[in-house]
Amino acid sequence: MSKKADSKKSINSNTMLLLITIALFIVLYAGGCIAYGSKGFTHFQTFLNILITNAGLICVACGMTCVMLTGGIDISVGALIAMDCMLLAVGMQKGIGAVPMIILVLLIGIVFGIFQGFLVGYLEIQPFIVSMAGMFFCRGMTAVICTDQVSITQEISPTFYAWANAKVIVPFGGYTNNKGKYMAPYVRPGVVVALIVLIAIFLILRYTKFGRSLYAVGGSESSAAMMGLNVKLIKMKAYMLSSFLCSIGGICYCLNTMAGSVSQATGLEMDAISSAVIGGTLLTGGVGNVIGSFFGVLINGTISSIVKTNGKLASSWPNILTAALLFIFIVIQSLFAVLRSRQTGKR
């Protein structure tokens, strides 16, 4: 990898961080394959299962990345997902169709995001405080809607049930099991949605005015304003996008859990933030990329998957490993920052 870095002189430290993240994922995954090959870790389906489990998180992490690029944070996402799931479950239980409920959830996401974004952008309140209030609100509303766990069964909504159990067959990477039957690898519809979101946000961040202005605001808010950008509006849009993507993520999440409950998706906001950070997004804003965040999610997913496959390790191990990774990444990031400032200083 170092050779690569040498041959291309324009490679910068941010690209470097992304490469490290990807390399780490490959190492982790390869490690899993070597250690647990006999337990089926090498099957392509294992990788796809990571995607299936984390489809919702991928959407949320994309939104979180956008907000973090502006230098902000949105910790309301976990609670918003819980509220989305509860709404979907209760709404469908009451006989409302899956499609209208999904549209409602998306609209709520947009409105909620506009409100949070207004507070952050126009009233200049600390994003942490705003989204913490948003978190309490959503978690509270979830309980107001219903305190019990509500399952979405086939009877309640055949459409939603069918989506949840639909298989999107991947045309390669299958294997023949020991009974001689070909096992085609598959993903759930949620994964398709998540990947579409990922690609869309990647393109938006890279090729649109709005996307670049997120970087500008994160790089220097006052400069962005001086250069004639509408910083307040841009920030509001970022939070709107985050909540909207979070609602999409909530639907994907619901397709996995098929239930609404008050304690759902607790701490998911932290998973999203840690994925973004491991993926090279700086908390200070201005630097980051959804591809990195995607790999961040995959790394977290791989760790859980390894621990699960092992079967003997306590379920708290993924947390400890994530903590270690976060620590390593933050140290690497600040090392790069120091190196860079030295370089600039010298010239």
Binding site: S10, N12, R212, S220, A224, M227, R340, T344, R347
Partner: protein
Amino acid sequence: MEENVVLTARGISMTFPGVKALDGVDLTLRKGEIHALMGENGAGKSTLIKCLTGINDFEAGEIRIDGIDGPVKNHSTRDAQNVGISTVYQEVNLCPNLSVAENLFIGREPLTKLHTIDRKSYNKRSQKIMDELGISVDVTQNLENYSLAIQQMVAIARAVDMECKVLILDEPTSSLDDDEVEKLFVLMRGLREKGVSILFVTHFLEQVYAVCDRITVLRNGGFVGEYPISELPRVKLVAAMMGKDLDDLAEIKKEQKDFSKEPMEISAKGLSHAGTVKPFDLDIHKGEVVGIGGLLGSGRSELARCIYGADKAQTGTLEVNGKQVKINQPIDAMNKGMGMLPDDRKAEGIIADLSVRENIILALQAKRGMFRQLSRAQQEEIADRYIELVQIKTASKETLIKQLSGGNQQKVILARWLATDPDFLILDEPTRGIDIGTKSEIQKLIVKLAGEGKSVLFISSEIEEMLRTCNRMVIMRDGQKVGELDHELSQESVMKAIAGGEA
């Protein structure tokens, strides 16, 4: 509008709560000239610029711009850009995390048919712009990979490319080294050829004479005058900025004493702090009062801060009482018997919510360390002694310091340092903003302290005051110590030294 005039501002006035920041200021910019806007700190330069660029809302007066009928009033930077006024500030207002090209085009990117950003086209255009201006950069690289000078030039390139008629450069050179300044000047001269009017704000006198055609001088928010550069030699410029006429400078007689045989208290060799003070040597003898003269912003306070360790010296050595010492932070200096009264009384001096007694014992307590606390009785005794000694007018020693007048607050801080029994005191603008009576008391106190064998480094904007109290004066210009005057201390000699140059 006169021919060739691009912008006129007439009678601009503006008030901040309690302060008249601008009072009837005029400014005339002609096509293709570099126009210096000069004045000491607080003269109203920044306020005037902010009025031109729409950040401040001026109350009276009008601004006219060539090609626009009627007076112009900008309400935002954007408005100003639309009428052709662009500004580049001291702090580069660009995004370091974006590429050079993006910084040039953000907010006005060329779009493709799909409404996405046309990266190829703006990279190409950016490279062309930078090549035309003679700045060699790879526009696809992030801005943070380039030096401050280049960043500054990118900011200028952005401003110029927005078809500005008037380019305002607000202290663009203060963080650049000499080579970089020269590059910037080449760029500025090139723009002048192209017909851009540049309003150049700087406190470096040399730079004004190196590139400018005309000078407008402000003082205390008022308009002093507009002069072609050839008619305003340095000394006259300094006089205009400080509000003194060389002709009325009366000599103030003062008894001179020779200190060169006294033992050395402080001896600095080659001390410097990057960006604020260039390396300087300074010797101060026991019982001597040394003044630092220079314009505001010339590095007077910074020199003192460097000795005291408030800004850690990066080069050079310091001897105290003939012994070499290492001073990394103020407490080190305090332990060597130094004390410093900072110029920003509110921010760095008083602790507003503590009582007079607590403020007085603060430095002494800090010097003793946290675990050797002064007893209440000791504290009260010290407070009483110094309230008496420097004659602080306070209801009691338990009165909160914020309730005292500025002059008395200053005396409390002076008392704080006297309580530590320092051998060397740095007084940075100890008399600013206090009434005449208290001023002369403080001046007398300085002379008295010197009589007791303490050395004093005295910084003041009032030359008369320093002439009265100092035995010797050090002259600062542009962060550099440019001279020392020990005999023939007079208004005229000091002002000439401050102005420097041949004039």
